[in-house]
Subunit: 322 residues, 2 copies
């Protein structure tokens, strides 16, 4: 199912999200506006705003509260991408030059800070203090998840649990925030808030596992970024972990992490080894388990078009190629 069909219940409001994102940069001086337009205006899938809006449709749908939150999560997501690209020294994102590549790393750091603050301002526009606190707490989780990843770079001894904690912080926490805040802002009862939060968490874990798989098997043109970047940064994702477990002798991931042999050649071999192995299916099975949990979380919600969209969105996340 296409995103357009999944987004059908919120089609008109997603247009307002695009308008809102445009107004973030249209009111700024030209030198700032150019950077903001480059980062916010690109063709993102807008999964996070969609999660806020869909999660807000089960009780009292209040667009004046939900719209700033939908904008806030997308601006926050953009801020993290801008800083991630600066940290990883990435040159391309969504098929175009990153901020750090086009304007330099200093601009990327400062633009990311500006976007983080803009996101907080938008979150404050919900006028809901628990949501504002949740928002700040989520940024702390994202940053500490990324820090943990940075400290763990090129370490071979990592458990599946550590991997889950890391991706929970760096990815699932934001999807969780989107669904939970949507529910809170629509004054949903606690049972629904919990169900939507847990759906967001499980969706987020599935999302990141698929991301980690695509970093091995994805199509570079379709994704708009190179494959193998996790390995290049020394990030031990689920595919790399399984490769190490299954091929303990003479393993290209081990050689790469221990700085033995040619770096690029080790990455190439690791990707090839994974692509041609049953591990692809095994990783997808793990993602699929989280997808199934997410769908089960939705069962307490009324069976309507919004719930079906959330179900389909989980399916889309699992099947996506970019």
């Amino acid at each position: 199912m296409s995103l357009g069909t999944i987004y059908e219940p919120i089609r008109e409001d997603l247009v307002k999200v695009e308008d809102g994102l445009r107004s973030v940069y249209q009111g700024s001086p030209s030198w700032l506006s150019e950077l903001l337009a480059h980062s916010l205006g690109s063709s993102g899938k807008r999964v996070r705003p969609a999660l806020v809006l869909l999660s807000g449709r089960f009780c009292s749908y209040n667009l004046s509260r939900l719209l700033p939150m939908a904008l806030a999560v997308e601006v926050l997501h953009t801020a993290t991408l801008v800083h991630d690209d600066a940290i990883d020294n990435s040159a391309v994102r969504r098929g175009r030059a990153t901020i750090n590549k086009a304007w330099g790393e200093d601009k990327a750091i400062l633009l990311g800070d500006y976007l983080l603050a803009k996101a907080e301002e938008l979150a404050a526009a919900t006028e809901n203090l628990p949501v504002v606190r949740l928002f700040a707490r989520t940024i702390m989780n994202i940053a500490s998840g990324e820090l943990r990843q940075s400290f763990d770079a090129f370490r071979l001894e990592q458990t599946r649990q550590q991997y889950l904690e890391r991706i929970s912080g760096k990815t699932a926490s934001l999807l969780c925030l989107a669904t939970e805040s949507g529910a809170i802002l629509s004054q949903a009862p606690q049972e629904l808030v919990t169900a939507l939060r847990e759906y967001g968490y499980n969706l987020g874990i599935a999302f990141q596992i698929v991301d980690d798989i695509l970093d091995f098997i994805g199509d570079e043109v379709e994704m708009g970024k190179p494959v193998g970047s996790d390995l290049a940064e020394g990030t031990l994702t689920l595919p790399a972990m399984l490769l190490l477990e299954r091929y303990p002798d003479d393993n290209p991931v081990r050689r790469l992490f221990q700085n033995e042999g040619d770096r690029q050649e080790n990455i190439r071999q690791a990707i090839e080894l994974f692509r041609d192995s049953p591990l692809v299916e095994e990783c997808y099975q793990v993602a699929s388990d989280y997808h199934a949990r997410g769908c089960r979380n939705l069962e307490v919600l009324p069976d309507n078009a919004n719930r079906r969209s959330l179900q389909e969105l989980a399916g889309y996340v699992l099947a996506r190629k970019k």
Copy 2:
């Protein structure tokens, strides 16, 4: 007058600020705690928390609201220092290694993000939405001021007005936030809020001008960081602007910005030229004008120990050597 004497009315509460800063890192996992302790635990002058607390003492002094705000402004200040050092590739701050030097730039970017979010969380603990919004807006002002500075690097054609706008964003806005939020959180009437905000602004401009002077004439050991760093980064501060105006021919700042001759030698000559010129006095006169405006702003406040502390603090800022 020493800071200890100036801080006398809030001595006990500043101890609580230190306790609060410690609790930010003591509750974290060890790998994060170490970074937080390194950045927050250093011997800062705590000017910003002091401004919140002193500004909050003219009406209803409510420590449960003021303390989180005092912590928030110090954590925010620390976040900006961590990112600034990463951007400038600075090695030393307050006499010890910067985060980027000791742990790498990637850690510095992520720690700064964590601190920005922690600051927002603390601001939200004031439970005052206008203050939360003011806080987010201030971070946007700081980041866009720094961005402006980055875009203007090594540009010779800049007006005094542009300089003021830049330092207003990157420095004065935070001191302004400290005094204004202190006033708002103590439920001061609008006249006092305005007076304290404007005092904060004028103090902030004076503070930054003195900072820019010290980058030419300061003592490296006393300051705990090297002099000439603004010139090295191509930042045209008031001293450099006046040097260009006063010595239009064969000027070391012009040569440096136009990439002519030896870089270090141009910086050395610019510092020497400034130190031995009447421009030092002229720059201090500009700072002193803002100091005087700040003191005039205080005149509408009741004449008590708190007001005298704010006056003395302005004097301290003008006379400081580091």
